[in-house]
Each structure stands twice: as C-alpha cells, then as structure tokens.
C-alpha cells in the first residue's frame, strides 16, 4: 500500500516538475475604463500546446498579447497583477521588453511578412540580434524554413518577394521567421483564421511538430482545432477564465455549464 501511494506521489510530483513557462497571477487589464481581463490565474507548461478558446471579445487575444506585452501598443492600456515568465515578472520596470519578445515569438492572425525577399524575411530576426555572417544566416534560413515545413516549396525562390506567396505559405513563412531566432515560447493568435482548409491542416501538423521543442500558446476561434491540437485548453468568457484543464477532459466532460454550452455550440 505504502509503496503504491508513494509511487503515485512520485508520478504526481514529476508531473508537477514539468517546468512552468508562464505563471499568471491575478492579472487584470483595462482599455481605458473598460476592463478586458479579470483576475486571470493561469499556468502554462513547457513543451505543451495550450489553447485559448472563447467567443469574440472574451479577452483571449488580449491575454495572448499581454504575454509578450504587445498589448502595450494600445496607448490606453493599464494592468495590475503579475505575469511571471521563467520566474520573472514581465511587468517589472527593469524588465526589457525586447528581451521578452526575443524569447517569446508571435504569429499573427493575418500573415504579415515584410515586403522583402523570403530570405530577408527569415534573416531579419537574426540580423537585428547581431548575426551578420552570411554562411550562418544561410544555415538559419534553411533550418527555419525546414522547421516550418516550407523549405521544399520555396528553396528555389528565396530571393523572391514574400508577397508573391499564397496566404498559407505566407503564414508558414511567418512561423519560420519566428523560429529563426529560436524562441522559447510561440504565441499564435488565430493563425489559421485567414487560411483555407488545406493550409490550415498544414499549419496544424506543423504545430504538432513544433511542440517537441517549443511551448505553444494558441488562441483559436475553432473549437475542433483546439480539440485536435492542444494538450490543455483555457475557456475565456467576458475577460475571465471559466475553465482550464486538459483538453481531453474539457471536451469530453466539462465541469462548468457555460463551458459545456460553448463547446457544444449553444452560443458563441
């Protein structure tokens, strides 16, 4: 008996030991006078895909953008509470936002490549962080494009403008651009909402692949997508986290009535 309990405890504690990347504590956020996030407490685990779902305007994108402080581009934003990234509060006055964003990559809703060549798009990140050696850059470009499963499609036209690519290719290019600086976490803000079903499938496969080396947080409108690709799911409603649990559990047996209503399609 004792040994059994012990072993259970051991497995439990190894589970606990899985590193926490982001620890959000009592986060509140206001756009001017409108409160967009209320008392958020979430822990994001390393090398997992965490999906954030919820109806429009529930604060899921806002939360994602808070994780790399992109939300501060809106001038009237105020926050309270803290977000610990690898143990350090990102709202700390001494915390450098550029360092945070170098470690935490972001893929946006609409593909937003720079109006440069495919090569220069990928090399942009390494270059601004001081990598200038042509040979190393060549390697980074190939590795990143391979990482984003787009190398074979573009290897012969690296000098072409990225805007000549299809929407799905552009989005994978943006993922590759993000991989080029080897981030720790990748934030994805509805990365497939502007893509057709086939491109969506490719990006989803890619996310599964990336999970091995990166922690991924993905906001999605599409509940099936969350069910397909994520390990954990957080359900947001009116700026609050209603439920946060393993994806399997949430979709098979939601604890909360509102979660159930949402994932069964009764609203949202």
């Amino acid at each position: 008996m004792t040994t059994l309990t012990d072993s259970v405890e051991v497995t439990d504690s190894t589970k606990e030991d899985k590193n926490i990347v982001y620890d959000t504590k009592n986060l509140n956020l206001w756009y001017g006078d409108d409160q967009a996030l209320r008392d958020i407490n979430l822990q994001i685990t390393e090398n997992e895909v965490t999906a954030i779902i919820g109806p429009s305007g529930c604060g899921k994108s806002t939360y994602l953008k808070t994780l790399n402080r992109m939300v501060e581009l809106v001038p009237v934003v105020r926050t309270s509470g803290e977000i610990l990234y690898r143990g350090k509060n990102i709202f700390d006055k001494t915390y450098q936002v550029e360092t945070l964003r170098t470690n935490v990559g972001m893929v946006f809703q609409k593909p937003n490549p720079f109006p440069k060549s495919i090569y220069d798009n990928i090399a942009y990140g390494p270059r601004i962080h001081g990598i200038k050696n042509k040979k190393i850059l060549d390697e980074i470009v190939e590795k990143s494009l391979r990482g984003a499963a787009i190398w074979d499609e573009v290897k012969d036209r690296l000098k072409d403008n990225a805007y000549g690519m299809s929407g799905g290719q552009q989005q994978r290019l943006c993922i590759a651009r993000c991989l080029a600086i080897e981030p720790d976490v990748i934030l994805m803000d509805e990365p497939t909402s502007a893509l057709d079903p086939i491109s969506t499938l490719k990006v989803e496969d890619l996310i599964q692949e990336l999970k091995k080396s990166y922690s991924i947080i993905i906001v999605t409108h599409n509940m099936q997508q969350a069910a397909r690709i994520s390990d954990k799911t957080a359900f947001f409603l009116s700026g609050e986290v209603i439920e946060f649990s393993d994806t399997d559990k949430m979709f098979s047996n939601p604890k909360n009535k509102q979660t159930e209503d949402y994932i069964t399609g009764r609203f949202g």
Partner: protein, 312 residues
C-alpha cells in the same frame, strides 16, 4: 383621399419623358466636353514646348552647340558676347545640392518623428504647421535669405559676399523640408501596422522597426519625395535671384555670388533684350535646358518609385 390616389408616380415619370430624352443628350455630350477641357493643359504644354524648341534652334544658329554646353564664360552683353551655360549649371547644381543637404536629413527625420514617434495629438498639431511652411511665398524666403540669413552667416564666415549662393541654398532647403517631410510621412504612415507588430514581435527596438522595416517599405514614396524636392530646388527662382545676385561666376566657392538658370532668365527678361537678338534667344536655350533637367528628374522619380517598390 381621391387626390392621393390620383398621385401616380408611374404616370408622373411618364409625363417627364421629354426631360429624360433631353438628359440623355446631355449625358452623351459630357464626355466630349470633359475631354476638351482636359486636353487644354496638354495642348498648352505642347505649345510651350514647341516655342521653346523653335527659339532654341534659332539660338544655336548664332552660337555653336558645343560652345554653349562647354563654355565657362557667360557674358551676354557687349561686343564680345559669350554664351557658355556652365556658370549657370554650376550655380543651379550647387544651390540645389546645398538645399538638399538641408532638406533631406531634416525632412526625413521629421517624417520619422511624425509617423513613428509622435503621439496622435502631437501629430495632429505639428503636421498642419509644417504644411503652412509650404505655403509661404518664395519671395518672402528670398527676402529672408538676403536680409537675415546672409548677415547671420557673415558673423561666422567673414569672407562671405553680400550676395552668395550659400544663404539662398540653405533657405531653399528650409523651404523644401515641409514637402519632403509631408510626402515621406504619408508614405511611412501608409505602411500597415501589421508589419511593425511583426518586427516588434521579434524583439526589435522601435528604431530597428523604423530603420529596417518601415523606411524600406516606404522607400518608393520617400525617394520620390527627394526627387520632387530636387526638381523644386532646380526650378526655384525668387530666392536665388534675390540672395545670390547676378554674377556669372564659374566657381565652386559657395561664399561667392553665382547665378542659376532661373535667375538668369529673370535678369534677362527684366532687362530689354531686343526680340530676335542672340541674348533674346539665349533665354529660350536656357529655359529649354532647365526644362530638360526637370523632365529628367520627373522621369527618375517615376522610375525610382517603380523600382524601389516593396510591394505589400
């Protein structure tokens, strides 16, 4: 009630049929009328060009082509009149170069500030003020160069002549700043925010975003603003006519008085050039050269804005 039932819209439209036919005649005539109006400006340009070319040909009967373009002496009056355009060309280029040295850096930096760094409120106040600067008549700038800037510069550069090319060049630069700032700002603020976000998301600082993403994306608009600025400087007349005097020096010394092509035309038309004289025809030759230069500038602007377009 009966009255209302009698009010049949369909009948009324029928009754107006005559107007409808009249309207359709007008509709048919409108494109022709608009075409004639539109072509007036083109015909005028062709007319001007035709006169310029004709009189320029007359000029080259009196003065050999090569003497005109390689002559370093311009002495239009007197017995041994000489018509070399080089003094005017150097005057024009030096004054334009000084102007662009002032206008390009300041204009571009202002545009960067307005587009990337200024808050909405600041931009709303500053941009109109900048554009008012563009509305100041050039004669005021010329007067300002002659009576204020030259004496001011004289304190630092004692050998500066009372009329010199430096002062009008600088003032011309100031005049062109708003144009470059405004056009470049338009080009930069039309770069989609998604690109800035993409770059910031990779850990770029604001300066890196501006320098490596926004400016390259807006490059075609920025370069066009430079080239338009240069043609404005080449074509500028009053400032140089007032503040640079009328010495037809062939020199590169900016403290001396020089004459530009435009100022030469002002001077000669202001005097009595008898119609049909070589002096009279020289006006046209100089004007034609000026026209060719501005034309080339405009063509370059068009070419550059196509070539440097980072399409998005």
């Amino acid at each position: 009630m009966t009255d209302e039932r009698d009010l049949r819209v369909r009948d009324m439209i029928q009754a107006n049929k005559r107007t409808v036919t009249f309207n359709s005649i007008i509709e048919k005539c409108i494109p022709t009328i608009l075409f004639i109006i539109a072509i007036i400006s083109i015909l005028t340009t062709i007319g001007i060009l035709f006169t310029l070319i004709r009189e320029t040909i007359y000029f080259f009967r009196d003065v050999p082509f090569l003497d005109f373009f390689t002559g370093t002496k311009l002495k239009p009056l007197g017995d041994a009149a000489e018509f070399g355009i080089l003094p005017l060309l150097t005057g024009t280029f030096i004054s334009s170069a000084i102007a662009m040295l002032v206008a390009i850096p300041i204009g571009l930096m202002s545009a960067v500030f307005l587009s990337e760094y200024a808050s909405d409120k600041v931009r709303r106040i500053l941009k109109p003020i900048l554009e008012v600067l563009a509305g100041i008549p050039t004669i005021v700038y010329g007067f300002f160069a002659f009576t204020f800037v030259t004496p001011l510069l004289n304190r630092f550069i004692p050998m500066l002549e009372p009329t010199n090319i430096l002062s009008p060049g600088l003032v011309m630069g100031v005049m062109i700043i708003p144009m470059i700032a405004s056009l470049s700002e338009d080009a930069m603020s039309s770069v989609p925010n998604a690109m800035r976000e993409g770059a910031l998301g990779l850990g770029s600082t604001k300066l890196e975003v501006t320098w490596r993403v926004v400016i390259p994306a807006a490059m075609s608009g920025i370069i066009s603003s430079f080239v338009l600025g240069i043609s404005r400087a080449i074509g500028e007349t009053m400032i140089v006519a007032i503040a640079s005097g009328s010495s037809k020096n062939f020199t590169f010394d900016v403290t001396q008085s020089m004459q530009t092509m435009t100022a030469y035309i002002v001077e000669v038309t202001g005097g009595d050039a008898p119609a049909g004289s070589t002096l009279y025809y020289s006006l046209y030759a100089v004007a034609f050269t000026l026209f060719v230069f501005t034309l080339i500038m405009n063509l370059i602007a068009q070419y550059i804005s196509k070539k440097f377009r980072e399409g998005y």
